[in-house]
Amino acid sequence: MVENRPFLTFLTHAVLILGVVFLCFPVWMALVASTHGPEALSRSPIPMWFGGQMWENYSQLLAGGLPEAGGVPIGRMMFNSLIMALCITFGKIAISIISAYAIVYFRFPFRMGFFWMIFITLMLPVEVRILPTYDVVVKMGMLNTYAGLTVPLIASATATFLFRQFFLTIPDELVEAARIDRAGPLRFFWDILLPLSRTNIAALFIILFIFGWNQYLWPFLITSDEGLYTVVMGIQRMVNSGESLPVWHYIMGTAVLAMIPPVLVVVAMQKLFVKGLVESEK
């Protein structure tokens, strides 16, 4: 601190507390609403403190499911989300690290061509080419499969850049030493490069897990079979359930369940998360 100004210190904390309230209040209300029954949520103003129905609501959601969401238990949807998030995360990390390795450590024709091809994918987000990409998946018979849900999302320019950037900072002496010891390229990759990349992989893991878990449009298009619904996209069926009024206590319960895994990952691995986020955007 440069100088001591009590009023400014007070203002600083006031601003921060206001910010925390603004960010936390909506989720607080969601939590509260998910512990009440339908009667409490049928007249305004709704309660702002917990009700007694937490156990009933959540066990009904996790195991029983709702007719509005196709009768699939939310537990099943969360399982699908987990599979999708993990496949996307590991897939992206695996194919990005090997392609970055090839681009940095080998010299071969079309090397830069490949690099630019990967780069351009940054400019083609799935939202702008929805229909033709959907057609490709239909033609390949991947509708309603885990493969269709994950494989098209696995290419990653960001992860490739991050690994490339990191590999470029690794001293050449390591490669020379490895070659003197007669290690081949695969051996070098497996025994030296991969262990060195651990922190980067962990940081990327957090970002990509959140990216994968929060996918919405893609699972919405690819799955028509309720058994494959993911939780973030399944909630939409409950909100816009047509004729019947939305069952808010269940919807908020689902929202809370759907945000727990990614929020836990961020909070538990805060340091790595900040590092991964700030570096992957460079």
Partner: protein, 293 residues
């Protein structure tokens, strides 16, 4: 750009890039090419025949008042989200940068919404502002505001702007905080010795030095508002009432999947791709300049 010492192998590097390139070609390049191609055709609803029409689909779009309105909506939406999310997070980052005690605690409480999916952010705000039982709309009626986003288009747009900005604050906060922490303390101290007060110091030293961060975040926030908020809108207002929240990305989806007008949807895709390419280009121009900084 490249290592001095490299491995020699004829086949291995190709095998290593193969998975990434294969997915890129099948799921990125091929569909994008398809979008480009079908934007020059008009197809009947069953896909039996199609006719080359040149740029007609594009001309039709720019004659369509609905599309022009969607452009306007996207612009209002994008700029409001970016401004709101950046202003709030800059204030929070400046405050957090001053705090010594409890800094980690504040940071934890401020960053977690990053992990909340845009769709969920939308659904929760949709609930808070529900005209009959939302707590925020109840408060609003207390101060005399009649809130009903099912009928009032401006209110619906306001609702999605607030929800989208709410989700983006954490991201901006982290980048602003990182930017603030990289400003040398000695500069601030020198200004303080010259009797510049905190407000003056902020506007003449801190804010100008944050320009690169601000500019980077502006592009990121606009891209977020234009593309990533599809889920938020689709899960809540579904573009309504009467297209009031139908931003460009939502319209691509609506024209293609609901309206089954493939030519027009493809033309809209191509326009959006042009927009992303322009924004990415701007962002990378800026990144190059930052390196010289």
């Amino acid at each position: 750009m490249q290592k001095r010492v490299v491995f020699r192998s004829r086949l291995l590097p190709y095998l290593l890039v193969l998975p990434q390139i294969a997915i890129t070609v099948i799921f990125f390049f091929w569909p994008s090419y398809q979008a480009l191609e079908s934007s020059f055709f008009i197809e009947d609803a069953f896909g039996f025949s199609r006719e080359w029409v040149g740029l007609t689909n594009y001309f039709e779009l720019f004659k369509d008042p609905g599309y022009l309105k969607s452009f306007r909506t996207s612009l209002i939406f994008g700029i409001s989200v970016a401004f709101l999310a950046m202003a709030i997070s800059l204030g929070l980052a400046v405050a957090a940068n001053r705090v010594v005690k409890a800094a980690t605690g504040y940071r934890t409480l401020l960053i977690w919404p990053y992990a909340v999916a845009p769709a969920l952010a939308g659904v929760i705000w949709y609930f808070l502002m529900n005209p009959s039982l939302g707590i925020v709309s109840y408060w609003l009626s207390g101060v005399g505001v009649e809130w009903n986003h099912y009928v009032n288009g401006d209110q619906a747009l306001f609702l999605v702007i607030v929800a989208a900005a709410w989700k983006q604050v954490s991201y901006n906060f982290l980048f602003f905080l990182a930017g603030l922490q990289s400003i040398p303390k000695s500069m601030i101290e020198a200004a303080a010795i010259d009797r510049a007060g905190p407000v003056r110091r902020f506007w003449t030293i801190v804010f100008p030095l944050l320009t690169p961060t601000t500019f980077f975040l502006l592009v990121v926030n606009l891209v977020y508002a234009f593309f990533d908020t599809f889920a938020l809108i689709h899960a809540t207002t579904e573009g309504g009432p009467v297209d009031a929240t139908s931003i460009l990305v939502f319209r691509v989806y609506n024209t293609g999947f609901i309206g089954q007008d493939y030519g027009s949807s493809a033309a809209q895709s191509v326009i959006l791709m042009g927009l992303v390419i322009a924004m990415t280009f701007v962002q990378f121009r800026y990144v190059e300049r930052k390196v010289q900084y």
